[in-house]
């Protein structure tokens, strides 16, 4: 009895839903964020480091400073727009890096099997054995923080997920007719994997990227919040929350506006990602 009531509404909803209202809102928000990141120089009312000690800690709604100012009289809105850019650029670069290396290692494991496969699995186990935040903190402790290191470090986030997925899918694809056929036709392994197998696993990879992207934003924000990620004078969302924390009692808006942007952005990506997953790959 439960079975009959459980399944049909789900399928019906999935077919009917062309673009649910929440997903539209999510996509709209994401578009706004991307525009902020792209046209930061046009949108930003003030330079992010411009101080004005006579308007310190102005509350939101002050003419000229709609989101208020911080402890040095810098405009919160300008810093927010700049922060959206740095957080998105880091997350975007890192997602591409980790998808690239994860897929490469996954394909290599599937192609060569044996020792290569064992090494990849061992590396994945290693990644699973260390919470990523701890590993990043250790690396930052040993090498000190820099923007390049931060992007590379974040680029390690979640590679094992792609590797695991591509390895599994590539192995099962190799057993299927189409891969065997192109191999028989004399195609080189690179051609088989890039031209024939990759397009067939691409949708799963894209869905994984929508899962990793918000997690990277959160990871970078956490590191920056702890004061170990993006360093001043650069600014990022986590970094703003971290500095705003000291003015929690007197000027909570310094911390609240970047916090709201972080939450809305990750929420929007999750909603859009869920919808995409239902469309592209319901098995994930």
């Amino acid at each position: 009895m439960t079975v009959t009531t459980v399944n049909p509404p789900r399928f019906a909803k999935r077919r009917r839903a062309r673009l649910p209202f929440t997903v539209q809102l999510a996509l709209f928000w994401l578009l706004a964020m991307v525009i902020c990141a792209l046209f930061v120089d046009l949108l930003r009312p003030y330079p992010i480091t411009q101080m004005n000690l006579s308007t310190r800690l102005a509350p939101p709604g002050t003419p000229g400073h709609w989101l208020g100012t911080d402890e040095l009289g810098r405009d919160v809105l300008s810093r927010l727009i700049q922060s959206v850019r740095s957080s998105l650029v880091i997350a975007f670069g890192a997602t591409l890096l980790s998808a690239f290396f994860g897929t490469l290692l996954g394909f290599m494991a599937a192609k060569f099997r044996g020792v290569v496969e064992h090494v990849v699995v061992m590396l994945a186990d290693f990644q699973a054995a260390l919470p990523f935040l701890i590993m990043s903190l250790a690396v930052l402790a040993f090498f000190g923080s820099s923007m390049l290191l931060l992007v590379c470090l974040m680029g390690f986030y979640g590679w094992e997920r792609y590797a695991r997925i591509t390895r599994g899918l590539a192995i099962s694809a190799s057993a299927q007719g189409y891969a065997a056929a192109v191999v028989q036709l004399g195609a080189k392994p690179s051609r088989v994997y890039l031209r024939h197998i990759l397009p067939n696993v691409a949708s799963t990879l894209i869905v994984s990227m929508t899962l990793t992207f918000p997690e990277i934003i959160l990871m970078e924000s956490s590191l920056s919040f702890l004061g170990l990620g993006v360093q001043p004078p650069d600014t990022s969302l986590g970094n703003m929350v971290g500095f705003g924390r000291e003015y929690l009692t007197t000027a909570p808006w310094i911390m609240l506006s970047p916090a709201v942007v972080i939450v809305l952005t990750t929420l929007a990506i999750s909603l859009a990602g869920d919808w995409l997953r239902d469309r592209l790959d319901p098995t994930l």
Partner: protein
């Protein structure tokens, strides 16, 4: 079964070894370990003693072996701060961290799993929707934002709870809440989808068709099968609890291991960082191993294969 357990143990050992190797490589890449682990103003004889003991004048492979040996004996170097062994400093902080993580884990399990199962059984109802929305909010709000919001509401505005420190049990309320909310959301969402998947399986239909009562179907047929994926995610959550402790202890000035780690990273007190790194890896490996073994116990099919990937 014996083969299953030994292969898991072997992999766990290999993972610990790879974490140690990671620490070794990173440490060598960042400079002279004697300088790095002992600090700049240490007497020459102490440095020489350290070099001899760790064999820093030996070829690199000998160094690697003696490094592993030192790790095994619990010799992680000296803290830069007060020249005491790093391991002692870390050990002093562990009880405080456990005071937060254990209640948080209990709260996550006690609220997350039942909420998810309840939502799955009432799928499509208002109760289900509210669980989903609460879960999504729970895990999209990062813990540092959640913690600051709780401080803003309960400490700054209401003045009901202390905002930082560790002198009474009231001080633990906000940190434990902050740490558990995200995990409750993750567990609720995950248990819900695991349960929904199981409830759609043919054996549930068979059980219902042959007249087993609904509560028996849920208790004897659905729950044991949903337990397998739920146990896996609980294993992962140990890692996020440790990561959460770092942030939460920083927000609430809680004198635990996480705060020690942040202070040590900021001061580049590498001996302490390395010690915490290996300790966390050991905890994670043990918890992953426990999950794997529980998995084998819950799902007899997995005992047959040596690799669960």
């Amino acid at each position: 079964m014996i083969r299953f357990v030994t292969s898991r143990l072997f992999r766990a050992g290999l993972t610990v070894l790879s974490v140690m190797t990671f620490a070794f490589v990173v440490l060598r890449m960042s400079g002279d370990p004697a300088q790095v682990l002992l600090g700049p103003d240490v007497p020459q004889n102490v440095v020489q003693d350290f070099r001899d003991r760790w064999g820093l004048d030996d070829p690199i492979w000998r160094q690697y072996l003696s490094y592993l040996q030192a790790m095994m004996q619990g010799d992680f170097g000296l803290s830069m701060r007060d020249r005491s062994p790093a391991i002692d400093l870390v050990m002093q902080r562990i009880p405080a961290t456990l005071q937060l993580t254990i209640p948080a884990l209990i709260l996550q399990l006690a609220f997350g799993i039942p909420a998810g199962i309840y939502a799955a059984l009432k799928q499509g109802t208002l109760a289900d929707r509210s669980v989903i929305v609460a879960a999504i909010v729970g895990f999209t709000v990062p813990s540092f934002v959640m913690g600051l919001l709780l401080v803003l509401i309960f400490a700054v505005t209401l003045g009901a709870l202390p905002s930082g420190g560790a002198s009474s049990w009231q001080h633990a309320i906000l940190p434990v809440l902050t740490m558990s909310i995200g995990g409750i959301g993750v567990l609720a969402r995950f248990s819900r989808s695991a349960m929904i998947e199981v409830m759609g399986a043919p054996y549930i239909r068979t059980a219902s068709a042959k007249g087993v009562s609904w509560s028996d179907v849920v208790r004897n047929h659905a729950l044991p099968n949903a337990a397998v994926p739920i146990v896996t995610i609980v294993g992962f959550m140990v890692g996020s609890l440790i990561a959460g402790a770092i942030i939460v202890e920083t927000i609430f000035s809680w004198p635990g291991m996480g705060r020690l780690l942040i202070v040590s990273v900021t001061n580049r007190d590498l001996a302490v960082v390395q010690c915490i790194l290996l300790l966390v890896a050991a905890v994670m490996v043990v918890s992953n191993l426990t999950v794997d073994l529980l998995y084998g116990w819950l799902d007899p099919r997995l005992r047959q294969t040596t690799s669960a990937h």
